[in-house]
Amino acid sequence: MLGTYLPILLVVLIAIIFGLVALTFSSLIGPKKKTALKLSPYESGCAPVGTARERFSIKFYLIAMLFILFDIEAVFLYPWAILYKKLGVFGLVEMGVFVVILFVGYIYVWKKGALEWE
């Protein structure tokens, strides 16, 4: 009975170990320059403390737009992932076409320089 839960326990353990290993190694071998900026929670984002009514750069909109576009496409990956085996090669090819179209969009965005902060 309990044996059926073993895979879940394993997944939990692996998740914990993975997190611990990542944290330990980055603190052991990563370079450390403790400037004020480096220690802030969001190193390359808004200042976390202060008035919420502050104006922030219009560039965030661009990032947000791109995020929305590419994020929502993941919605279509879930049903496919659940039925992956039943859909077989046909599903794989269809999804390949879908991802290629997304990829065209990604290359376009990239070459247009929309991912550069400057």
Partner: protein, 485 residues
């Protein structure tokens, strides 16, 4: 493990769509990978692509193929409309280059966006499932929002894009709600299944959910084809958008809206025709009258043609009200003629305009007939056709729309239509009065006719006249197409 049986997918019905999508994506990539100030070649490739797509559509004429589990169909009705969209796109591409170079917004993205719009419109005409029609509509609309605001340095264009976006998205909400309620009432999004359900009801209009769904969908489509009282966005968007895109918007998307609405109403809701034709009677009268009366007062020529395009949508709604083969084939014929004559007229406006379009008034055509006789004759042909005078395409189109209404006994509707048509002569002829009877105030020395625009004018003039003199060569296709849906 059970494999899900994939229904046999036949790609032939959507070959033109696939071809244009792939071409548009390729052009987007070419545009970013080949750095060049001169983007005209993308326009030429797009134009050739449009012709190739037209050949693909043409070879499928006469076939009836359903695919994707009944979500799209290849039939003559869809093919006829696809030809209209391709024609509108082709002509718009031809007149774009010179305009965009002059206005200094010659971005290569323009042409892929036009192609994506065409793909959306084609899916609207070929869709036999509410889902396909909705997706097509959105592919079309989202691309059009960008095209309307394409000249991003120009505030008018910004405003046009923003307004079009807000009101377009708003109308999408109504359309979708209508689709949801129809789905709830009938249990299906397939147009044929909805028709089967409605046919089984003894009195389908007593089903509140179905009736509300139909009404909301009609509201959504009325927005898209700019029927009064949902026309308020049209003049602003048409005036602010770049002129070639205004030309494109007034012809293609309007035809696409009619295509989808025709298929939904004539197939799904054929048993409720008594209900919706009353509604369309009111819409048609309002749209014709509001469009024509407001157009009388316009000095800006783009704005005048915008109101006139509302009026022309009203004439098509007359054919809708009739709902019989003469009237509906009339809509198809009229949308084709309108594409020729309206884009032709806009091509002349592109030529007469200067950078930033400071001279968009009717008065700026003063003496145009003396300075550029050939162009003025072309403009006169387009205006005659828009006013519905023989021997032009506009006359024949109106003739079939109104005779469809008379066959169905809507005598008054036809009378109101003819009166409206007579009133419209005033503002079209006003332009001609300025062209031929006023002293020139301008030298028109900036005016240059590039080869693509000359070609588009040639196509438009030929189309307007040929359809007017020998309409049967096209009309028989329209009648054949409408029979089979």
């Amino acid at each position: 493990m059970d494999m899900i049986t994939i229904p046999a997918v036949n790609m032939t019905p959507i070959m033109p769509e696939i071809f244009l999508s792939v071409l548009a994506m390729a052009l987007l990539l070419i545009n970013v990978f080949v750095p060049s100030g001169q983007k005209s070649y993308i326009g030429y490739i797009s134009f050739i692509g449009v012709i190739a797509a037209a050949v693909l559509v043409g070879t499928g004429w006469g076939m009836h193929v359903e695919s994707f589990n009944g979500a799209v169909v290849q039939d003559n009705f869809a093919s006829f409309f696809k030809m209209i969209f391709l024609l509108a796109a082709g002509l718009a591409i031809l007149i774009s280059d010179q305009y965009m170079v002059r206005e200094e917004c010659n971005h290569g993205e323009l042409y892929p966006l036009i192609l994506f719009t065409v793909v959306g419109m084609m899916l609207m005409a070929a869709g036999t499932d509410l889902m396909t029609i909705f997706l097509g509509l959105e592919v079309m609309s989202v691309s059009l929002y960008v095209l309307a605001g394409f000249n991003r340095e120009n505030r008018k264009s910004n405003e046009a894009g923003l307004k079009y976006f807000l009101l377009g998205a708003f109308s999408t909400g109504f359309l979708l709600y209508g689709m949801a309620l129809t789905y709830g009432a009938t249990g299906s999004t397939r147009i044929a299944d909805i028709a089967t359900f409605a046919a089984q009801q003894s009195l389908p209009s007593s089903n509140v959910m179905l009736l509300a769904g139909m009404l909301l969908m009609i509201t959504g489509f009325a927005f898209k084809v700019a029927a009064a009282p949902f026309h308020m966005w049209t003049p602003d968007v048409y005036e602010g958008a770049p002129t070639p895109m205004t030309a494109f918007m007034s012809a293609g998307p309007k035809a696409a809206g009619f295509a989808a609405a025709l298929r939904i109403l004539l197939v799904s809701f054929s048993t409720m025709q008594a209900d919706w034709s009353q509604l369309f009677w009111v819409l048609a009268v309002l749209t014709m009258t509001v469009g024509n009366i407001t157009a009388l007062r316009q000095d800006n020529i783009k704005r005048m043609l915008a109101y006139s395009s509302i009026a022309h949508a009203g004439y098509c709604l007359v054919g809708f009200t009739a709902g019989n083969p003469t009237g509906t084939a009339g809509i198809m014929f009229y949308m084709l003629s309108y594409t020729f004559m309206n884009i032709g007229a806009f091509a002349i406006i592109v030529l007469v305009g200067k950078k930033g379009e400071p001279n968009g008034n009717v008065m700026d055509f003063a003496g145009f007939g003396f300075k550029h006789p050939a162009l003025a004759v072309a403009m006169s042909i387009f205006l005659f056709s828009l006013a519905g005078m023989p021997p032009t395409a506009g006359f024949i189109g109106k003739f079939y729309l109104f005779s469809g209404a008379i066959q169905k006994g809507y005598i008054w509707l036809a009378v109101i239509g003819v009166l409206n048509s007579a009133a419209s002569v005033y503002y079209y002829l006003r332009v001609m009065v300025y062209m031929y009877m006023k002293e020139p105030t301008e030298e028109f020395d900036w005016l240059q006719v590039s080869a693509p625009i000359a070609l588009s004018l040639l196509i438009s003039v030929t189309g307007t006249l040929v359809l007017g003199v020998v309409p049967s060569i096209v009309l028989q296709y329209a009648q054949e197409a409408i029979k089979l849906i």
